[in-house]
Point group: C2
Chain length 282, copies 2
Amino acid sequence: MKTIISPLKITEFIRQARRKGKKVGFVPTMGYLHDGHLALVKSAKRDNDVIVMSIFVNPTQFGPKEDYAKYPRDFKRDAHLAKKEGVDVIFYPTAKDMYLANHSTYVTVENLSNNLCGRSRPGHFRGVATVVAKLFNIIPADSAYFGQKDAQQAFIIKRMARDLNIPINVKIVPTVREKDGLAMSSRNVYLNKSQRREGATLFRSLSLAKRLIRQGERNSSKIIKAVRDFINRNNFARIDYISIVNTDTLRDIKKLKGQVLIAIAAYFGKTRLIDNVILKVR
Amino acid sequence: MKTIISPLKITEFIRQARRKGKKVGFVPTMGYLHDGHLALVKSAKRDNDVIVMSIFVNPTQFGPKEDYAKYPRDFKRDAHLAKKEGVDVIFYPTAKDMYLANHSTYVTVENLSNNLCGRSRPGHFRGVATVVAKLFNIIPADSAYFGQKDAQQAFIIKRMARDLNIPINVKIVPTVREKDGLAMSSRNVYLNKSQRREGATLFRSLSLAKRLIRQGERNSSKIIKAVRDFINRNNFARIDYISIVNTDTLRDIKKLKGQVLIAIAAYFGKTRLIDNVILKVR
């Protein structure tokens, strides 16, 4: 496995691979890999000949009070895991090479960025869309793989690639969970023992929502209330939002119909966890 | 000469040309071609084997009170001129194909977009940066050619391509002028006879500024005052701005030093004309 630091060199590497007729799959990450990331690699390997992973903790997607400085990093461990999983090349740029002096350009995906996590993390999705647009140009792959855990991010990137005519196929891979249902996240390392145990309530509350829908419930407020009551009964998490939205607009809906996203964010201590489920409702 | 309407088809056309080792030059336009556009084609032909011109009046760069609907259009004439000049393929998309339903993504180039024309045309450069980012992805050329007449636009696009890692060389081509010095512009057709005559004052006032600088003047306010007085003495134009800025930041400077842009915008009747000069000052 190669590690490439220079944006120009990785572009050349990808171009050469594609010139030889190889299909290239791209897995963008902020590192501190867990089984969720490795599931992205597994998906990428099913469709492609060459797998590129980027590891870059992107400063522009963190708010001034967020955890950019203390975001967990361990390149050696990441490189080991990536290699074992069959990654061919890691792109591991410096922040200075990614954001040159007088960097001025930002990509925003309006509408989709305002609701859900966009409410409590202003500017976050602007940073995400900007760095992914850059990465897509640096790594002109056939397909790129994102986890459903960050559903809003995945929908925003899909829309961004379409709107900017970036010829990369954006694929969304199902969330990987711990045994008790907690969605894998690099931020789970922040949780203490009781927070870790309580974290699984998010998944269980989403399962409750699914059950209600299967039983015929179509009223958003009723489902949201049941989910909220369930979380409040079972732990001390501070709920940021529980929302049910249309997956095209990410706007709240009153009656469930078509493809819907049920998304939750909650603080366990200072750690903000998110989880979601996507359903087709008739 | 070919005309291609479909974004996907033009991308495939460019890829095939490049796969054969051809250099591709791209000239983006809004049509209604004049000698300024043809000078871009001439520059492109010097560096490339295949010349692509896009003709697209981009709705997102016009303000609600601007001239999108009545912007001059004449595809037949444009195609004739382009062919005569040696363009190989025209990309002539519909607005519907360029902006799909639920288009949500915009590219902004902060700082560079706020001053000069950005002041009187809010949102204009966001529309320009967005459509050019799209065009650069649709037409993955080696180089793209922009006229210096729209200097702020050219600097914004250069920065945008750099910041988003778009591997297209952005080249700025000197302004082409009428015999009396008026910068060529598709909007010159809006001018009546006396406005047309007065339009040339912009160029003459810039020549005055150059003369003052050659004589040693380095004080921006003094140069701006001289230019303003000259224009006011010679015609009835309503000056929008006269600015002297650093070409890296496009911010106003007090003392001239390094590469500077002297830019003017003025209304002749309802028609807004712009002109500029770029100088290296020691």
